[in-house]
């Protein structure tokens, strides 16, 4: 009996030791992750600071460009007003010329004589030249304006990803590294958290092509199987929505925590548009369907990046604004 008690006590001590060891291991891993987070945030902060530093003059230059666009419009409008006054003057001369021709007719000059008169011919040529010059200058300026507009459009397009990138690096700081850490919650939740954090970790920087990176990616792929299954359930729900634009759609997306891949959203959005057009018996408009590569480039996302519906909606609006500008 005494030896049984001793055994139990020994087992209890062993278990306590094991618990301590696991706890210290857990704390150690937590510290490693904290250190990683600290370093990562430092790097991200440095970039954000650089971005703020560079984006400010960049924004000022953009404003200058925008002002220039307005100035061109103003210069053209000013020229139009001045030209209107010249047109009136030319009209006055034209009327005087008609009166003069009448007088010549009254003096017995024939139409042919009037028409062939060197003075009349010269006057007509002068009037024609003035009008021609105004017209050609107007066309030339319209061309120059569209060239300037195109330059502005191009540079705006060039800059827009950077505005997103700044936000992207702010998001980097919000990501949890979580490798190997299981949150002390219910079993299911911890597994999901682990999967999600690992998945986000793998998405964080896909450019790492090291063996370790590939190893991690393989592990992530295995973990993602569960996520894909839940994604497919969400897919069904998303499909069931007649319009992702509706508030209900947004609500559902929020309820699902919006953890869907960009690729999934793109294909679902295009399917939705196709269905809509099919039902209404109309053809898909040019540029209406999302072009995967352009969308990903503009939104600075990769196919596997996960985002919520609200973010996707914002990206989609930006995409169509830019496309619209291109087609206008």
């Amino acid at each position: 009996m005494y030896s049984d008690l001793n055994n139990i006590d020994k087992k209890r001590l062993d278990l306590l030791n094991k618990k301590d060891s696991i706890e210290s291991e857990f704390e150690m891993k937590k510290d490693i992750i904290k250190l990683y987070e600290y370093k990562r945030n430092g790097i991200a902060d440095k970039l954000i600071e650089h971005y703020n530093l560079k984006l400010e003059p960049l924004t000022q230059d953009l404003e200058t460009i925008q002002r220039c666009k307005d100035k061109v419009d103003l210069a053209i409008a000013d020229m139009e007003v001045k030209n209107q006054s010249e047109i009136l003057k030319l009209k006055g001369i034209e009327n005087d010329k008609v009166e003069l021709e009448q007088s010549l007719r009254g003096m017995g000059k024939s139409e042919l004589e009037i028409k062939n008169s060197a003075g009349v011919k010269f006057l007509e040529a002068s009037l024609k030249q003035g009008r021609k010059e105004m017209k050609s200058e107007k066309e030339k300026l319209a061309r120059r304006k569209s060239e300037i507009d195109f330059k502005i459009f191009k540079i705006n397009n060039r800059i827009s990803p950077y505005k997103y990138k700044q936000a992207e690096f702010i998001r980097v700081k919000e990501r949890k590294p979580g490798i190997g850490i299981i949150e002390p919650s219910s079993e299911d939740e911890s597994v999901t958290d682990k999967t999600q954090s690992e998945s986000s970790e793998s998405n964080e920087h896909t450019s790492s092509h090291t063996d370790e990176g590939e190893k991690n990616a393989k592990e992530n792929d295995e973990n993602v199987v569960g996520a894909t299954q839940s994604e497919s359930n969400e897919h069904t729900k998303f499909k069931a929505q007649e319009s992702p634009h509706t508030d209900e759609g947004e609500k559902n997306a929020k309820e699902n925590d919006g953890q869907l891949t960009t690729l999934f959203y793109i294909s679902e959005w295009n399917n939705y548009l196709k269905d809509l057009r099919e039902k209404s018996g109309k053809e898909i408009l040019i540029g209406e369907l999302l072009d995967k590569h352009t969308f990903l480039r503009l939104a600075t996302l990769s196919e596997k990046d996960k985002l919520d519906f609200t973010t996707f909606k914002k990206d989609i609006i930006l995409y169509y604004i830019i496309r619209l500008e291109r087609y206008q």
Partner: protein, 103 residues
């Protein structure tokens, strides 16, 4: 005969007057053409200046953007290195644990 001469003289005077009027109109038309040329010139100069300003701003933006690209590349490299180091640290730590538990 005198009446005929007078009539011819009067007609000549009228023609001269009309020619003078025509010359005035021609001068006016040429003046307007000059004004139009001046307006065009002035507008072109304004647009030239604006275009130069746009080009300068675009140059500035391009420069800033390439600097941002450079910074971003460096940051990405740094982050990749850090991630790799982090993965290695965790892997090393797990290996140590395995050895300990085997012992």
């Amino acid at each position: 005969m005198t009446t005929d001469n007078n009539q011819v003289n009067n007609q000549d005077q009228d023609v001269d007057a009309l020619n003078t009027e025509l010359n005035v109109l021609i001068n006016k038309a040429q003046k307007i053409n000059q004004e139009i040329a001046d307006i065009n010139n002035e507008t072109n100069q304004v647009v030239d200046a604006i275009e130069m300003e746009v080009d300068q701003s675009i140059k500035n933006i391009e420069r800033s953007v390439s600097e941002l690209d450079q910074i971003e590349k460096e940051t990405e490299d740094e982050l990749n290195k850090l991630m790799l180091q982090h993965a290695k640290d965790l892997a090393d730590y797990s290996d140590e644990d395995e050895i300990k538990s085997e012992d």
